[in-house]
Symmetry: C2
């Protein structure tokens, strides 16, 4: 069979590099064909921007989802993207390999000393093409605040900030002027209460709620239906209600 490994790590001599070798050798010894895309070695351009759509008029607003569809169906995707798509089409099995910090990337926040962040507050402002229902408690995309947990809890709160609930605008691909106006009004309201609104009640790492050093939540602290990320906030509403 054919296996395509997408590998993201800047150092070939790393533990990740060694694990990659283990996987490739094992797969080949079983007779599988293997292709590896080493994203760092390829200097893979990770952000989507105008360069990806050379046919798109320079003076015209770029709508990424639409431009991407147009480029796909008109056969004008850039060569680097097309080559990766070919590998993907070729493969029977796809593996993504990366260290977890690689997903956080170089945001300028991640490497900070924690003391920078104490006494600060933070929030996410996010837009989504999908419906609000898709990201509700029972929605197929998962609850929005859970999707954002690696940022709100893993980045903001972990570095010492208080985090407000996220602001989201949905169905942005088809937004009417009226819908934009509503969202803008709501955003304005949120901007008025940055320093007074109640933050998400994430539990303190060393506040007594966790076993040390395993950092697992002590038994009996959660609500009857809490699980997953919601365990780590106090007084979460029943997460199974939408």
């Amino acid at each position: 069979m054919k296996v395509f490994i997408v590998f993201a790590h800047p150092e070939p001599q790393s533990l990740n590099g060694s694990l990659l070798k283990v996987a490739v050798e094992e797969l080949e010894s079983q007779g599988h064909e293997v292709k590896v895309s080493d994203l760092y070695a390829m200097k893979w351009k990770s952000q989507v921007d105008r360069e990806d759509f050379p046919q798109h008029p320079a003076d015209e607003r770029l709508r990424v989802t639409k431009a991407s569809a147009v480029a796909t169906y008109s056969g004008t995707l850039t060569d680097d993207v097309r080559q990766e798509q070919e590998k993907l089409k070729w493969a029977d099995f796809v593996i993504f390999q990366f260290p977890l910090w690689c997903t956080a990337r170089r945001t300028g926040v991640i490497d900070m000393e924690k003391e920078f962040c104490l006494e600060k507050r933070a929030m996410v402002v996010v837009t989504l093409g999908g419906w609000k229902e898709h990201y509700s408690a029972r929605g197929i995309g998962g609850p929005l605040e859970d999707l954002l947990f690696p940022v709100t809890h893993g980045t903001f709160y972990y570095t010492g900030m208080e985090v407000l609930p996220s602001f989201a605008m949905y169905r942005t691909d088809r937004a009417t002027d009226e819908q934009f106006k509503e969202a803008a009004d709501e955003l304005r309201q949120r901007m008025k209460t940055l320093f007074t609104a109640k933050p998400i009640a994430f539990r303190r790492q060393n506040g007594g709620d966790y076993e040390i050093p395993a950092l697992t939540l002590k038994r009996g602290l959660e609500g009857p239906n809490a699980s997953g990320f919601s365990l780590h906030s106090r007084n979460v509403e029943d997460a199974t209600e939408s």
Copy 2:
């Protein structure tokens, strides 16, 4: 007060660009000072690599976490990172604004037509500095498979692939040769069952489990303690047990 907005969108004329203006205007009208980092306009380099550590010897293995600590304490961080840190230190409030697709970025998979992916299988191989317990059902980092949900469910499964449980190696910063050998053995075993192992039992979008078009899970299909992302798999074990 001082508000720092980190903005990630390639198109200033976008809906996101308009929302940014709304926020800035509102904040300034309240007398706040505002700084904006427009990551695309700045051509922000998002990946961490050797260029970030010019003092690091070219022939020496790069350990990102360590190199980052050394650069921070020796004052040799690159100017672009330092400038962002200054803004962060300056701020009382931090806002991250982005469209949700921006977190997925340009992986070469995201823009694919779904038909490429049918009949394929996929999995994640990930390494973590933290302990396994930190990413267990009750661990402070959140359950690992939940952290990876945007990749396993949002990318792989959404484009039509069957997804195997992720392979993870923990505490990699201090791994001994013995620990590496154990992980390598486990990875070898996983590589032997790529095409036979049981995939995660994610529910089919149009398989009858969801209300259409809201795509919310129908009542009563989940186990007694399921919530969050685990709602979207069949036969999930009680997620509150660690």
